[in-house]
């Protein structure tokens, strides 16, 4: 069934988009991350103009994030204090991100920057995740899983404005989560992602948060970052396609619920190993697109 998208100004097969949203939702529910960075490129492959894809995916991200947070909240897996600091940074960051987005769009390099950012971040996060989860699996198999300190102490713990995060059992400066929030916010606006695949490793490796709290807390801050991005993109660029977002979110919210039920059946490291494969695959495809000679070195676009 084809549905006409009022903002993208083209029809799209609603069932296929619903299915994509559903599958990505399952991954999101299982691992807690990965909504936007898969949906945005897929929508671009479908011929949706990249500014519309980025903004509409940001819009749809609100729904699975809310639904996810509510489930995690019930199990007591959200650190609201940490989440609030992250989201303050996130809202600032996404406002900066929309500004950069507009500048890049005006000089005509938006597409390239989006793709390059994807390549860089997917490669880094994908390989880190792969190595980490692979090590863990090997260690568990050999049966000598070493449990070190709760977290490593380094220079980051010497920063001022230290606060106690009871839920996360941390006593750290708020500057670091604030900066992480800003960076994730910028990327959210630029790339149409919730920033989960950056914020989750950052929370584990940089902040030293317990893994059980990471997913719920990151989803909590994604709600606000995605909402801020949606409102800014809609009011400044008129690029939010509510019909596209609605089809995607109906698929993904159902997927998330199913995925989160499955997540108990699989070990965390196996899940992350699986996701690292997907991340590296998407990154590889993007590099391939950038370095291979285009079919036509000229391209056209309708402008105002």
């Amino acid at each position: 069934m084809y549905i006409y998208l009022p903002i993208a100004e083209q029809p799209i097969n609603a069932f296929i988009v619903l299915g994509i949203g559903w599958l990505v939702g399952i991954i999101m529910g299982m691992v807690g991350i990965g909504g936007g960075f898969l949906l945005t490129p897929l929508m671009i492959f479908f011929g949706i103009p990249s500014p519309v894809a980025v903004a509409s995916v940001a819009n749809q991200l609100v729904a699975p994030s809310v639904s996810g947070v509510l489930s995690h909240w019930k199990s007591g897996n959200v650190d609201f204090k940490m989440g609030t600091i992250l989201l303050v940074g996130g809202v600032i960051g996404s406002s900066i991100g929309v500004l950069i987005f507009n500048i890049l769009n005006a000089i005509g390099q938006l597409d390239l920057v989006i793709k390059l950012s994807y390549v860089i971040f997917l490669a880094i996060i994908g390989s880190l995740m792969f190595i980490e989860s692979f090590k863990l699996i090997i260690q568990t198999k050999r049966g000598k899983a070493t449990r070190g300190k709760l977290h490593q102490h380094n220079w980051l713990h010497g920063l001022p404005l230290k606060t106690r995060f009871r839920k996360s059992k941390l006593y750290i400066s708020i500057i670091l989560p604030l900066i992480i929030g800003v960076i994730v916010g910028i990327l959210a606006a630029l790339m149409g992602i919730g920033g989960g695949f950056i914020i989750v490793p950052a929370m584990i490796y940089l902040l030293g948060m317990p893994t059980s709290l990471v997913i719920g807390t990151s989803l909590f801050q994604i709600i606000f970052v995605a909402a801020n991005t949606t409102i800014l993109q809609a009011s400044q660029n008129q690029t939010v396609d509510i019909v596209l977002a609605l089809i995607l979110l109906i698929g993904s919210v159902i997927g998330v619920q199913i995925g989160s039920k499955f997540s108990n059946l699989m070990k965390g490291e196996h899940l992350r190993l699986f996701l690292s494969f997907i991340i590296l695959l998407v990154g590889f495809k993007l590099i391939l697109d950038l370095v291979t000679i285009p079919l036509d070195i000229f391209s056209i676009s309708v402008i105002q």
Binding site: L70, G108, A234, Q238, L249, V302
Partner: protein, 250 residues
């Protein structure tokens, strides 16, 4: 089926009427629809163009459909640091966003070069402007790139030998508008040639407009964009909460 019957009836009516009409005007045409509404289930439209003409053997019919004019940016990519990136862009203005030509045989065989140029019966005679230099001095490859890409996206299309003429009096042609067609007034020109000379012509208009929910959403997004953004967020928030509510019960 109903539209088919309607079309056949209309053709018959036109054919009957044409005996009297021929006296003053030897070309009569009509469209099965004069407005195309882009609703939420729009996936392109077929419009039947039909007509009657006072023809002789070897007469020709050419149909030209042109959409509104707008700006098209042509980007050129080059390999820099191992990556293909846009290095040069040229903006063409006054470009027909849709241009369709159909005829009963090769246009070159129907009429001469000056007539083709005058009536714009190919894609090489538009009065375009660009932001770089005078159009006449612009490297041909830029215009060729524009033409190639417009054709690839089906915005510009030529179908020679696609009109069937019936007993030198009737012709019909289905105009297929692509799903990504832009809104506005479309001009349909029907040209009747005899031995290379234009002997009569007719013009019709097709209005393409957004209607229903699709049009309302577009208008709200354009005119009340901040409210639109807030609504978009609220809708997403609601659906997120709602699914959680449902799944908690299962």
């Amino acid at each position: 089926m109903r539209t088919l019957i309607k079309n056949i009836l209309l053709i018959i009516i036109i054919a009957l009427n044409s005996f009297t009409v021929f006296a003053k005007d030897n070309l009569v045409t009509d469209l099965s629809e004069s407005t195309v509404e882009i609703s939420s289930t729009f996936s392109g439209a077929d419009i039947l163009l039909f007509g009657a003409y006072d023809g002789q053997k070897n007469d020709d019919i050419i149909v030209v459909v042109s959409g509104q004019k707008g700006n098209i940016k042509v980007d050129k990519k080059e390999k820099k640091f191992g990556i293909w990136m846009i290095t040069e862009s040229i903006k063409f203005s006054n470009v027909p966003k849709y241009y369709y030509i159909a005829s009963n045989r090769k246009i070159e065989e129907i009429t001469n070069k000056s007539e083709i140029k005058k009536r714009k019966l190919d894609f090489n005679n538009f009065e375009l402007k660009n932001n770089k230099i005078d159009y006449k001095n612009l490297d041909k490859k830029w215009y060729e790139a524009l033409k190639r890409n417009m054709k690839k996206k089906q915005f510009w299309k030529i179908e020679e030998n696609s009109i069937t003429l019936n007993k030198n009096t009737l012709f019909r042609k289905t105009l297929s508008l692509p799903s990504n067609v832009s809104t506005g007034m479309y001009n349909v020109k029907i040209l009747h040639y005899r031995k290379g000379n234009l002997i009569s012509q007719e013009e019709s208009k097709i209005k393409i407009d957004k209607t229903g929910i699709s049009a309302n959403i577009y208008n709200i997004a354009q005119n009340f964009s901040a409210i639109y953004g807030i609504i978009a967020v609220i809708v997403a928030l609601f659906f997120g909460w709602f699914t959680n509510f449902i799944f908690r019960r299962i």
